[in-house]
Subunit: 272 residues, 2 copies
């Protein structure tokens, strides 16, 4: 029998840490349907009281008490939330003390540090990386391509663009991508624009069936989406990677996050 | 005196949860320089042993033991990592037991759930949202604009594009954006393409000085980047939002994450 549980991610900031952590923990429990809600910017005692009332309201209208994942740096706010009718788990409360003991100093209890503009320099470099990724997407310009930390290459629809944007947004890495078109794949050879950038290249490949499916959603029944064409392009791309000594990855069953982290690891990129 | 500490984010998956959690906790400690390293895909006992050796190597070559944030679902792997010379904090070890007691069942200890392609449907809808955001960026097409959950509008360089991409990548929200150009701002009136979509609109504004600085980095000395032009565009945009009853936000001192979460909250958008 499937249970249903209400789960809250509560934070004095964006709630992103509470969501990430809570969702990760919830993936480990099967057979239960979780109804999640994020309650961000709970950064005053008044808002904490309203939030607690809301949690209590939900606890009373369902048969089971909610689970609350909280990242609240203020003791005052946390003490209001704690007395909600819930299993209350606060990250700072549980994990700050061992770190405080290890470092021999108290945590600062400063709000909005994790996902605010805490480090302006670091933040602006992330935005710059994102703009770089957007401007250069899919080979739209080769201007300043040498600024890239990594250039993803692949046939169309192997995951280049989402991975590029994730690398930029999440890690501030100057990533971009360049398509391998039929002209290059026929031979197979590296696009002219990429010569001299060999050390920055990373190739993506896929499974023909998977690629045909993804392309078919865009252009059903086209040659572009045919299994034969997909198989040909992937084979030629893999040959190109092999000849050029370009590290590569089969992205067919991987998420953007897994591809991105694998690229970082393989190319020893620095997270910013 | 500034200390320096080595911190590892270790995971059998991407390490994204360990990074997010660990970085959040570290923001609460001032006066210490943290050297962070992510060690992802530690998903076999062999890799755990190599990882432990590496951590021990670093512990011995520095005067202080490292801090390790781990998200490892396997007890066997975790037991190898635990005996590294470190302050070892594992998320599942600390936080799974209270949730297990609450739910009356054991966690499944399944690897790669948090940031893999666990839920194919949810994953594909995120990718679709991302493609939608890319195709419609900056008003490049008005095709299927009614599919959008939210349309961000603003003068150039107020944060529309990064926020849109973040909403799509992180939350699978169908977000897009549309620029307010001088023509529309002169009057001020809503771009024709957006009529009928009023309920989906969210406006961004900024501070004139901040906008002039951001624009100046792109086109130094231009009219576009002048303080007078920025002040004019922002004033007109704010007037347009007011007249149209369009909710809006001053993004000048906010991060992408904070803007995105505020938009979700204001428009009551559903995270996918």
């Amino acid at each position: 029998v499937s249970q249903k549980r209400t789960v809250f991610f509560v934070s004095d900031g964006t709630g992103i840490t509470a969501e990430t952590l809570g969702n990760t923990l919830l993936t480990q429990f099967d057979g239960i349907e979780f109804e999640t809600q994020t309650l961000p910017f709970v950064n005053t005692p008044d808002r904490a009281r309203v939030t607690t009332d809301y949690i209590n309201h939900l606890a009373e209208s369902t048969s089971q008490r909610p689970i609350v994942f909280s990242t609240t740096v203020s003791d005052e706010i946390r003490d209001v939330l704690r007395y909600s009718q819930s299993l209350f788990i606060d990250v700072f409360e549980v994990l700050a003390p061992p770190i405080e003991r290890e470092l021999g100093r108290k945590s600062t209890h400063t709000q909005g540090r994790a996902h605010g503009v805490a480090d302006v320099h670091r933040y602006e470099s992330r935005i710059e990386a994102m703009n770089f990724a957007m401007e250069h997407d899919d080979g739209s310009t080769t201007r300043e391509l040498q600024r890239a930390d990594v250039v993803l290459i692949a046939p169309s629809r192997c995951g280049k663009t989402p991975t590029t944007l994730y690398l930029a947004l999440q890690y501030g890495i100057f990533a971009t991508n360049f398509p391998l078109t039929e002209d290059e794949l026929d031979v197979p050879q590296l696009p002219k624009a990429l010569r001299g950038l060999e050390a920055k290249l990373f190739g993506l490949t896929s499974q023909p069936e998977r690629l045909a499916q993804v392309r078919g959603e865009r252009r059903p029944g086209s040659k572009y989406a045919s299994l034969a064409q997909c198989a040909f392009e992937l084979r030629q791309a893999e040959e190109l990677y092999r000849r050029g000594g370009i590290p590569s990855l089969n992205s067919a069953n991987m998420s953007i996050e897994e591809i991105a982290v694998s690229v970082i690891q393989e190319k020893a990129l620095r997270r910013r």
